[in-house]
């Protein structure tokens, strides 16, 4: 539990920018440690606007995020994604429900609620962008069974 808490804290800080650092300020956390990123522009991107869903490239690809996620933080206190995508909220908000696989713990046992290991949505789900491949390639997704 303590490890999870520590992990959650660390990742929460990374994802959420806890501590309210403005874009120009040097990143220094609460205990005075300077970020190794320095003043990198890693989170100074402009989030993509809402747009139609780009089809997935291969089977079991985590679905891409078809909407802006500007200011959507995932912290220890609150997971903004789950405010709409959790099974309790999805019907009202019209958001895609979290898949069943997210309820399995690492022993593949089904839990009543979302498994904490799935807490950080953006480990797998990223905003979609129609990026052209940097290098030409002949990648083709494996065909589905029966095709």
């Amino acid at each position: 539990m303590r490890l999870i808490t520590a992990l959650a804290l660390a990742a929460g800080m990374l994802l959420g920018g806890v501590g309210g650092v403005s874009a120009q300020e040097l990143r220094v956390n609460e205990i005075g440690i300077e970020s190794i990123e320095g003043n990198s522009k890693v989170d100074m991107f402009r989030p993509e606007k809402d747009q139609a869903t780009i089809p997935r490239n291969f089977q079991k690809q985590p679905p891409l995020i078809p909407h802006s996620i500007k200011g959507y933080n995932i912290t220890q206190n609150f997971n903004k994604c789950m405010d709409c995508h959790s099974k309790e909220r999805a019907d009202e908000t019209g958001a895609t429900k979290v898949a069943k696989s997210h309820y399995l713990d690492r022993e593949d046992k089904k839990q009543a609620n979302i498994s904490p290991r799935r807490y950080f949505c953006m480990q797998c789900h990223v905003p979609q962008f129609d990026a052209k491949p940097l290098v030409a390639n002949t990648y083709k997704p494996a065909t589905k069974k029966g095709e």
Partner: protein, 216 residues
């Protein structure tokens, strides 16, 4: 002096012209001073002169759209937290004397203490905004003037629906300016028993009863 005497009312003669003029000037000075004091305690610089505000809520707020955005129009603390109308403003200002007491007591004078109280403080403000139909939001954001075609897909869909259901801004837009307290979202055990967030489907009071200190 005779002609002026004729026009002077009896009560002025009784207390004297100089006293009347003195009272008049004192009235201006008092009312002006009152308003000046009111206005100077209604500025962001006043709010963040307390480190409790400057180091916690103000810094969090600097990452949000109400502080920095494309056009540079911004809201300051009192724009959202102090009513604009005279009556409600006076009531809020008098209630704020409690905040002065807790400043002296040092109730939230460290980040740890502040975060332990965050749930309670947030709920106070949610309750206030729910009660006045998010008046401070609506001072700038008016439903009637919203152009849904300019809004994102999700906003354009949700806004008309929520207005029809009679929801108010704060029902959905919690935590847009400051970090949220621990919220029980039924994910793992981390925030089990923390504040349950309401989206307008149940009254804020019901959510309050479920509150438990989330500090671990």
């Amino acid at each position: 002096m005779m002609s002026l005497d004729k026009f002077t009312p009896a009560w002025v003669k009784r207390i004297g012209l100089v006293t009347v003029l003195g009272l008049f000037v004192a009235g201006i000075v008092f009312w002006g001073g009152f308003n000046w004091a009111l206005e100077s305690t209604n500025k962001e610089s006043f709010c963040i002169s307390c480190h409790e505000m400057e180091e916690n809520v103000f810094r969090e707020y600097q990452n949000t759209v109400h502080y920095t955005n494309r056009t540079g129009v911004r809201a300051t603390c009192p724009d959202c937290h102090v009513p604009k109308e005279w009556g409600p403003k006076m009531i809020r200002k008098i209630q704020a004397s409690n905040e002065v007491l807790h400043k002296i007591l040092g109730t939230i004078d460290t980040p740890e203490k502040f975060n332990a109280k965050r749930g309670q403080l947030a709920q106070n403000e949610w309750r206030r905004m729910k009660a006045n139909d998010s008046q401070e939001c609506r001072n700038c954001h008016r439903y009637d003037y919203m152009d849904y075609t300019e809004q994102g897909n999700r906003a354009a869909k949700q806004h008309p629906q929520a207005f029809t259901e009679g929801k108010t801004c704060i029902d959905c837009h919690k935590g847009i300016a400051h970090q949220l307290p621990a919220i029980d979202q039924h994910i793992g055990k981390q925030n089990d028993g923390a504040v349950a967030i309401s989206h307008g489907e149940k009254p804020a009071e019901a959510a309050k009863e479920e509150e438990k200190p989330a500090a671990k």
